[in-house]
Symmetry: C2
C-alpha cells in the first residue's frame, strides 16, 4: 500500500535533489521557492537516458517468462547483497541522525533486516503477477486481408523520483521490469548510499538474465533529476513518490505525463436513513485506522435529521480515539468541541483531526463534495437504496463507496497485487494504479498491399468486422 | 478523418486568440513569441466554467437514450438554423477575404450548404455510435458482501481550442454530448460569427431535451481561452485542434492533460525480401494520397540490397506524381535527384516531398526510426515473416503496419465512427482517438459495514474473487 505523505514544510527543488528539509520553510511560491531552474540535460545524462531507452526497447520484446525470471533474479541478488545494503543504510542513518533529520523521516529511511526481507518478498510477489503485456484489446477485420489489432505494450522508460524511502526503489524497479519498462531512478539524498547499494544489487541480479542491467539507471545529482523533466521522447512517464508540492512542481515543469495525486481530501456522508452503529464504525475506521494515508477521511458530512442521534454517539467515540473534531456552528451545538474555519473544508490533515458539517440533504452533501473534494474517494453510509444509487452516480471521484471505509481505496485491497501509487487525475490510469498503469497499447495493422486510395475512390469498402479477441 | 495541419507561420498566442496569422513570423520562441501570459481566470469565466461543470455532472447521469436524443436534437436545430449559420459564415468570409487571410485558411473557414449538410450528417452518425458509458471493466468480490466494480464514466468538461474551422465545433460538440461531457469551446477569431451561430443552434437544440444547454459554452476572447488553461479542477482535458506549435504552447502552460500530437514523421521501410510493385504502390499511396495528413510518410528507408531495383521503379513513379525526392548520397547515386540535409530526416513536410535513405538492414532501419520518428505510424513492406514480426514488435509507435499504407491510421478507417484526433502521446488514449478517449472510469465499492481494521488485524481476509463482467 502506498501512503501519500504530505510534508507541509517542503522545498520541491530540495526534494528533487533528495534533500528533505528538516526544519523547512513555508510552501509558498513553489516554482521559485529556492529559485530552482530546470536545466537542459547534459551529455552524460543524455547518454545514460539513451542507453536506458535502448535496453528498454529490448526488454519490451522479452517474453513473460524472461521478465519473470529477471525479477526473481533481482530478488535473489538483493538477498545476496543484504549485508552491503544494510551497512549502507546504517551509514545513511548515522548521517541523518547527526544532521538532525526529523524522526518521521528517519523512520522512513531505516531499512532493517526484517523490512528488507519484506521488500524482497514484495519483489517476488511482483514476479508472480499476471503479465500485463501482449493483451489484445481490439481485433477488427477492416477489409478482407486487412486486420487491425490493439495490444498492450510497455510505456518505455519511467522516471521515478522518491523522497527518503529506499524500499520504494525495490518496489518500483520490480514493477518496471515486470511490465517491460526501463527506469531512471532518483532517490532521496539521505538515502544515497542505501539506494546505490540496492541499485547495484538489482543490476547484479539482472546480469546473466535476458535483461540488460543498463535498463535500470540511478541518478544521483539534483541537476540530473531536474533535467530529467526535459527528457520528453526518452522518458514516457514521471512517477513522483512524494508530497503534493513535489507533484505540482513536477507537473508545472515537464511535458512528460506525470502519475501522481495532488490531494486526498476524502469525505464520508452519513445519510438520513442509516444504521447508526455501522456508520460510526466506518467513520472511526476511515479516520483513525491510519490517519496519514491519503484515503483517510478529512470531512464528515451528517444529514441534519440524524445528526443529534449520530453525534451523540460519535463525539465521545472520536474523543476516545484521540480525534480533534472541528465543526460548523450546528455541529458544535450538538457537542463537537472545536470550531471549523473556512480552510478546514479543504484541509488534508493527514492527522487525527476531522471536520464535521451538517447538511440539509443529499444534494447539499454532493455540492459540498463537488466544491471541496479532491476526487480521490468519497463514501456514503445509508440504508436507502435511492440515496445510495444517486451518490454512486453523482460523485465524480476515482472511488465512490457505499457502506464501507474509504481506507479500502488501495491497489492491494483492490486485488492488484502491487501498486505504483494512487492517481487523482481524471484520465486513466486513475485511482490505485497497478501494473496495468505502466503499460500502453499499440495498433498493429497487417495487410497485403492495401492502399487508402482504393477506399477513397470507392473501389473497396471497409467491412469493420469484429474478430474474436 | 482529422487532418493534422501544420502552419509554419504560427503564433500560439494569436491562435489561442483565434487570430490566424496571414503573413506570419518565424516560429522561434513559442512561449514568448508575442509575450503571451496565461492570466488568472476572471470571475465571469469562472462563473461560466462552473455552470458548465454543474450541467456536465447532470449530463453524466443521463442515460444512453437521453444523450442520443440530445445529439439528434442538435442535428435538427442545426438544420433549422441553416440560413443563420450560412449567413454568419458569409459575413466571416467577407471579412477574411478583405483582411487578406491566406486562401488555404479561407477554404477551411468556408461553410456552404453542402459542407454544412455533411457536418449535420456527421452529428447524426455520432448519435448512432454505441454508448461509451457504463461499461463494466472490472468486477471483483473483495470479500463476502464487499464488491468492487470499475465502470466507464464521462471525463467531465472538455476545453477545446480550434483554429479556423467552424465545422469542427459541430463535430466536437456532438462527441462531447454523446460521451456525457460538457465543453468550453473556443473557435478561431475569423470564424467568430459562424461559431456563434452554430453554438446558438446547438443550445437551441438542447432546449427541451434532458440536457441543460448550459453544458456547451462558447468562449470568445483571447484572454478567456488563455485563462482556460488554468481551470484545472473545472476542465478535465484540453483538446487543441491546430498546429504542433499550438499543442506545445498549451502543454507548456497547463496542468490539465492535453490530447494532441506534436509531430507526424511517419516512415515506410522497404525490406530486402519484398514484392517490389506492391511496395511501390504502398509508398506512392502513403506519400501522395493526401500529403497534408499527419499519417502520410515523410521518409522512405530502403534496404541496400533491393535499392537498385526498387529505386529504378520508384524514382520515375514519384517524379510522375510530382514528388520531390531528397536522398542520401547512395540514394542519389541510384537516381534520387536532390540531396537530403540532416534536418530532412526529422522534417514533417506535409507536402509532396519525401526523404529517401538506404539502410544496411532491418536493424539500421529500426535505429533510424528510433532516432528520428515521432511514434505516430510506421510501416514495413516485406515478404519475410521474421522481418515482419521483428518490425511489429520493435517499433514503439502508436501504429505499426505491415504491407499496407500508413494512411489507414485514422479513427474512421479503424472503425471508430468518429474521432477526436490522433494522439502521439505514449499513454492511452493513443493513436486515433474515438469516443472512448472522452471517457474515464470510476471504482464503485459496495459493502455492508466493512472496515479496513478487520483486514489489518487478520480478523477477515480478502478473497479477491473475480465476478462476471
Amino acid at each position: 500500500m502506498m501512503v501519500c505523505m504530505n510534508s507541509p514544510a517542503f522545498s520541491p527543488a530540495a526534494a528533487l535533489a533528495g534533500q528533505a528539509t528538516p526544519g523547512g520553510v513555508p510552501d509558498a511560491g513553489v516554482n521559485a521557492a529556492d529559485g530552482a531552474v530546470v536545466p537542459e540535460p547534459g551529455p552524460e545524462l543524455l547518454r545514460r537516458a539513451v542507453a536506458v531507452r535502448r535496453s528498454a526497447t529490448a526488454l519490451g520484446q522479452c517474453g513473460d517468462q524472461q521478465r519473470q525470471a529477471a525479477v526473481l533474479a533481482m530478488a535473489e541478488a538483493l538477498e545476496a547483497g543484504q549485508a552491503e545494503i544494510l551497512a549502507a543504510n546504517q551509514a545513511d542513518l548515522a548521517d541523518a541522525v547527526a544532521g538532525g533529520l526529523a524522526p518521521s523521516l528517519v523512520a522512513r529511511l531505516k531499512l532493517d533486516a526484517a523490512k528488507l526481507a519484506g521488500a524482497i518478498e514484495g519483489v517476488r510477489q511482483v514476479a508472480a503477477l499476471p503479465d500485463p503485456l501482449g493483451r489484445r484489446q481490439l481485433h477488427t477485420e477492416l477489409d478482407q486481408g486487412l486486420v487491425l489489432e490493439r495490444v498492450t505494450v510497455p510505456l518505455g522508460v519511467l522516471g521515478v523520483i522518491f523522497e527518503a524511502r529506499p524500499d520504494a526503489v525495490m518496489q518500483i524497479a520490480s514493477l518496471a521490469i515486470r511490465s517491460g519498462n526501463g527506469a531512471l531512478l532518483k532517490g532521496g539524498r539521505e538515502a544515497q548510499r542505501s539506494c546505490a547499494a540496492i541499485h547495484a544489487a538489482l543490476r547484479q541480479g539482472l546480469t546473466g538474465t535476458g535483461v540488460d542491467p543498463a535498463v535500470l539507471e540511478l541518478l544521483t545529482s539534483r541537476q540530473e533529476s531536474l533535467a530529467m523533466l526535459r527528457l520528453d521522447g526518452l522518458v514516457d512517464l514521471i512517477i513522483p513518490r512524494g508530497s503534493n508540492a513535489l507533484v505540482r512542481f513536477i507537473q508545472d515543469n515537464t511535458r512528460i505525463p506525470v502519475l501522481g495525486h495532488a490531494d486526498g481530501v476524502c469525505h464520508l456522508y452519513v445519510d438520513r436513513q442509516v444504521d447508526l452503529s455501522q456508520a460510526l464504525r466506518i467513520a472511526l475506521d476511515a479516520k483513525t485506522q491510519y490517519p496519514a494515508a491519503c484515503n483517510a477521511i478529512e470531512t464528515l458530512l451528517v444529514h441534519r435529521a440524524v445528526a443529534p442521534a449520530f453525534l451523540a454517539l460519535a463525539v465521545p467515540a472520536f474523543a476516545a480515539a484521540g480525534v480533534d473534531l472541528r465543526g460548523d456552528a450546528e455541529a458544535m451545538a450538538l457537542g463537537v468541541p472545536s470550531a471549523a474555519r473556512d480552510d478546514d473544508w479543504r484541509a488534508e490533515y493527514s492527522d487525527l483531526i476531522l471536520a464535521v458539517r451538517l447538511v440539509d440533504d443529499l444534494d447539499q452533501a454532493l455540492e459540498h463534495i463537488r466544491l471541496h473534494g479532491s476526487r480521490h474517494t468519497e463514501a456514503i453510509c445509508t440504508t436507502d437504496p435511492t440515496a445510495a444509487d444517486r451518490f454512486l452516480a453523482a460523485v465524480d471521484s476515482a472511488g465512490v463507496f457505499l457502506n464501507c471505509s474509504t481506507r479500502f481505496a488501495d491497489g492491494f485491497r483492490y486485488g492488484f497485487g502491487a501498486e505504483v501509487g494512487i492517481s487523482t487525475q481524471t484520465l486513466p490510469p486513475r485511482g490505485p494504479v497497478g501494473l496495468e498503469g505502466l503499460v500502453t497499447y499499440r495498433y498493429r495493422l497487417r495487410g497485403d498491399g492495401h492502399i487508402a486510395a482504393d477506399y477513397v475512390s470507392g473501389a473497396r469498402r471497409f467491412s469493420h468486422c469484429p474478430l474474436p479477441l
